[in-house]
């Protein structure tokens, strides 16, 4: 039975969901997602990346997605399994949030900012 991904692993999977990224870029993306509240150390990040590679949820990208990026760096890409795990986990979390909302835990808080509101 596969374990649910840790918050950091899930953060990595989500960071890679839209495009391949190198380590630093993944980190920046995680910080952006969490509004700066999650900022793992570089060692921790790479250990997590390595574990995800070993579990087959992400893989090294064959080549840099954008040629102007630093070719020295290793890029990571989401595997099919990784995308499944990320989707599963996100849905589970979404359902949890829904339930939390039904129990009035989210009063005064919106899921996504709505820019067009007055």
């Amino acid at each position: 039975v596969p374990q649910p991904p840790t918050p950091l692993s899930l953060g990595i999977l989500i960071a890679l969901a839209d495009r391949d990224r190198h380590g630093y870029a993944i980190l920046k993306e995680i910080e952006r997602q969490s509004e700066g509240r999650v900022s793992p150390g570089t060692g921790t990040l790479y250990a997590a990346l390595q574990r995800l590679v070993e579990e087959g949820l992400i893989a090294e990208a064959p080549e840099a997605a954008e040629p102007d990026e630093d070719a020295r760096r290793r890029y990571y890409t989401l595997t099919v399994d990784g995308r499944d795990v990320a989707r599963e986990e996100s849905r589970r979390l979404a359902r949890l949030v829904e339930i939390a909302g039904e129990k009035d835990l989210l009063t005064g808080w919106r899921l996504a900012p709505q820019a067009d509101e007055p």
């Binding site: 570089t42 990040l45 390595q50």
Partner: protein, 893 residues
């Protein structure tokens, strides 16, 4: 470079180092990690100050380093297969496994650890005593080469008689087997004038070479050296560390100070460390001036020598006797018939207590053996109960060796925990031991539960843990086979071999415990006999204080006499004092002096040694001594030529057996008419008083009146006072009385007679205390042991008992059956134990007082006590067996 750039360069260096620690095998690309770190660093550098940046960067370095450690461990666990990884990891696994098992059933672990803790704690305490007294070398250089030279003087029943100064000088000059010889006097109390007023301090006069001979240096300053001994040398003194700290201020600047000792000023030249411990002595002064003109018949020196390289004790003894032969020829009057013998210093210091300590070490070893036997039984019982668990693990692929090792790990851990508990118990319980040891044992003041004792504890714990684990571990290899899985039994069944072993252990435990109990009971019996011995006087309510007068201010016998009459008069007037007097030799202190004497009516009698003990005032009445015949002194007897004396029963019996001694005459000194002293008439006979100890036989004693010329100089007396009520309340008025007669005098400690008697019995008391403690522990452990085995047996046979009851057996029969089974073990143990005790108590024959080593009543009483306790322990499982509900027992099927 700007400051910012410099710190960025610094951190990049650190990053490079940290990244290099990452293991290549883990699959993490170090360059990649570095690139990421640097990118973050540049981004952060724009946002933080230098300190903030340092905080961030240091965190990064730590994070990478920790990751490196974690990855390495991961690589090791996965990569390098088995073997090396195995040992540490499996050990850890075993320990965790054992721990979890204990948490599930804490009762087992608690009992096991406590059992071992009691056994090991007793051993720790005993070791600390034996180590301090026996095992540690004496605190001198090459102590095995040090030896005392003792004289044996004809007509004097004294194995270790002292030597005369001129003889010592000749030995020293002529001996080649001794590298050097030194001489010292016994301790005497002297008065030292301190800032707090006069105080009494123990001092010894020593030849100046003593310290060099022993190889002990001063803590501060210097020791004595040869020039200090020369006549006319400056008067110097070496003080103990304790005296230096309490009386002199304890700084190096206090060297060179002059202190007033008796009537002379002495310069302090050195301080001996506390480890150079001659208990009680605080001042060492050169012998020289005192000894320079001492006669060859004044024997007052203890002689200690250091053997020359290559010479032996026997050789040294032979050579000294040759030298003594020559001295005998040269000075026949003083040296006639004197023989010398050489005794190793160690034998002299601890020889007497060595056999006792060896016995106690043996006893405490037996306690540990019994504790271990208990633990083996516990582990066996638990092993049987765990057979299913072990069999399952075995079926799942755990090898026999793996299972055996698991059990060994567990027992070793138990041993170490037991050792910890034991050390704690020893520390907590050692208070009484540490208080008694200095009084009862030579070097006893060095007894401590220290690093050596704890190291011993650790070794014993480890050994005991491994030892008790071996049997169950071997068993795990055989009995706990896959066959167990097939049997339906709930807790599993022990094989025949296991049962036999368990019973043999219980029998042995009971037997050993009985041996110790009998031994301890004999010692307790001896002690109570000893303490109920009649000391020959009434110690309750008596207190004594040492008063010593300096010769310079009390030069004549009359001066001394006037002082003591005045003092006794003033003390006698203190309210609450019933009687007051003074004696030179107080019972249960070391003071005793003897001289030769012979009766008038036996023409051939050789002079025999008789104690010459001056008394003054109402000394007999104050001590509560009993007059057996005649009368005590009256005022009329005090004239110097009165020629009357009071003696004790032993002297009366020895001089005039079967006759009335009152009115008989005797004379001091030799038969040579030319030297003859006047005849003395016996006017009274006192009941014998115990002197050195309650157990020792009485000597012949003559109680000269202090004013009598034969009564000795005796400027050194003990005031004895009988109090109407609490004697301690009189201590300060008595001190005040002494000061009122002579303000410059130091007053010694005020002691009560019962205190002195208790102190004299400290040796028997400590060995009785220890052996009784050990025996009680042994008995307790043996009883727990038999309880454990019987409880296990009943538990194992529940089904069988259930079947029997279903078939009509009555509860009483079941109860009796279990008791019979336990009783057989107890009886076997008791029989073996009685035989063992009869054989072993011969070893303690010399320690017994008024009790036979084969005292039937003590044997019977202890055997009955142990048997009763053991059977009571069997009663609990027996009752449980009788309560078995056949339905429940059978349904468990």
């Amino acid at each position: 470079l700007t400051a910012g750039a410099r710190s960025i360069a610094f951190w990049r260096g650190c990053y490079a180092l940290a990244a290099r620690a990452l293991p290549a095998a883990a699959g993490v690309e170090a360059d990649d990690v570095r690139a990421c770190m640097e990118a973050r660093l540049s981004a952060e550098a724009g946002r933080r100050g230098r300190i903030g940046l340092a905080w961030f960067a240091a965190g990064e370095v730590a994070d990478v380093a920790l990751t490196a450690v974690r990855l390495r461990r991961r690589v090791r666990r996965r990569g390098a297969p088995e073997r090396k990884a195995a040992v540490a990891d499996l050990l850890w696994q075993d320990l965790r496994f054992a721990w979890r098992g204990w948490l599930r059933r804490p009762g087992f672990a608690v009992v096991a650890v406590l059992t071992l803790g009691l056994g090991i704690g007793a051993n720790t305490a005993m070791f600390s005593v034996a180590d301090a007294v026996l095992f540690r070398p004496l605190p001198h250089a090459e102590p095995e080469r040090l030896a005392y030279v003792w004289s044996v003087i004809p007509g004097l029943d004294w194995r270790r008689a002292p030597a005369a100064y001129p003889n010592y000088v000749d030995w020293r000059a002529q001996s080649e087997t001794f590298a050097d010889l030194a001489a010292m006097t016994g301790n005497t109390a002297v008065t030292v004038q301190t800032e707090r007023g006069p105080e009494r301090v123990e001092r010894a006069l020593v030849s100046a070479n003593l310290f060099a001979l022993l190889g002990n240096g001063a803590l501060v300053g210097r020791t004595l050296s040869e020039p200090d001994d020369a006549p006319g040398a400056e008067r110097v003194v070496v003080v103990s560390e304790g005296f230096w700290r309490t009386h002199l201020g304890g700084t190096a600047a206090d060297l060179g100070r002059a202190i007033r000792i008796q009537d002379g000023l002495y310069t302090v030249v050195g301080v001996m460390p506390a480890s150079f411990s001659v208990p009680g002595v605080d001042l060492w002064m050169p012998l020289g001036p005192a000894a320079a003109d001492a006669d060859r018949d004044l024997r007052f020196l203890t002689v200690l020598g250091r053997l020359a390289p290559g010479s032996t004790l026997e050789g040294a003894e032979r050579e000294l006797n040759l030298i003594m032969g020559r001295l005998e020829a040269a000075y026949p009057a003083d040296n006639e018939g004197i023989r010398l013998w050489v005794e190793p210093q160690r034998t002299f210091v601890v020889g007497e207590v060595r056999p006792v300590l060896h016995l106690l070490l043996g006893a405490v070893g037996v306690v540990l053996v019994i504790a271990c036997a208990n633990l083996v039984n516990l582990l066996l019982a638990r092993g049987v109960a765990r057979d299913r668990e072990l069999a399952v693990r075995s079926a799942l692929g755990a090898g026999r060796r793996r299972l055996a090792r698991q059990l060994l790990t567990e027992s070793t851990l138990l041993g170490l925990l037991g050792g910890g508990v034991g050390a704690a118990l020893a520390l907590v319980a050692s208070g009484g031991l540490l208080r008694l040891a200095p009084l009862a044992l030579p070097r006893g003041e060095t007894v401590a539960i220290d690093a050596r004792a704890l190291l011993f504890t650790a070794a014993v714990s480890l050994g005991a843990g491994l030892l008790v684990g071996i049997v169950p571990a071997l068993r795990a290899g055989t009995e706990a086979s896959a066959g167990t899985l097939r049997t339906a039994g709930r807790g599993g069944m022990a094989g025949r071999g296991t049962h036999r072993l368990q019973r043999a252990l219980v029998v042995a435990q009971v037997a050993l415990a009985l041996v110790l109990l009998v031994g301890a009971a004999l010692l307790v019996g001896s002690l109570s006999r000893l303490l109920s011995v009649d000391p020959g006087f009434e110690p309750d309510g008596v207190l004594a204080v040492h008063v010593s007068l300096p010769d310079s201010r009390y030069p004549e016998r009359e001066d001394v006499g006037r002082f003591f009459d005045e003092l006794i008069g003033r003390v006698g007037a203190i309210p609450g004092v019933e009687r007051a007097g003074a004696v030179w030799a107080l019972p249960f202190t070391n003071g005793w002096a003897s001289g030769g004497a012979y009766p008038e009516d036996d023409a051939d009698a050789e002079p025999v040694a008789v104690g010459m003990l001056p008394v003054r005032g109402e000394a007999f009445e104050a001590l509560g001594m009993r007059l057996v015949a005649g009368r005590a002194y009256t005022q009329a007897d005090l004239a110097p030529d009165a020629g009357v004396v009071v003696i004790n029963e032993t002297m009366a019996r020895r001089f005039w057996p079967g006759e009335d001694a009152v009115g008989k005459r005797f004379r001091r000194g030799s038969r040579d008419e030319a030297e003859a002293r006047p005849w003395l008439t016996v006017i009274g006979v006192m009941a014998d008083v115990k002197r050195a100890s309650l157990g020792a036989p009485s000597e012949a004693e003559a109680f000269f009146h202090h004013a009598h010329p034969d009564g000795g100089w005796a400027s050194d007396m003990r005031l004895v006072v009988r109090a109407a009520a609490d004697p301690i309340a009189l201590a300060s008025p008595i001190r005040a009385a002494v000061r009122s007669v002579d303000p410059a005098l130091a007053v010694g400690d005020v002691v009560t007679m019962p205190q002195l008697i208790a102190r004299s019995a400290a040796g028997p008391r400590i060995r009785t205390l220890l052996s009784a403690t050990f025996a009680t522990l042994a008995a307790l452990l043996a009883v727990i042991g038999i309880y454990g085995v019987m409880a296990f047996a009943v538990n194992e046979r529940r089904r069988e008992i259930g079947v029997r009851m279903a078939l009509g057996a009555r509860r009483v029969e079941v109860l009796a059956g279990v008791l019979r089974q336990g009783g057989a073990l107890v009886v076997a143990g008791i029989v073996l134990g009685l035989a063992g005790a009869a054989a072993a108590t011969r070893l303690i024959g010399s320690l017994l007082f008024g009790v036979s080593p084969l005292d039937v009543r003590i044997y019977a009483a202890t055997a009955a006590l142990l048997a009763g306790a053991a059977l009571a322990a069997c009663l609990i499982p027996a009752a449980r067996a009788a309560r078995v509900d056949p339905l429940v027992a059978l349904r468990a099927e």
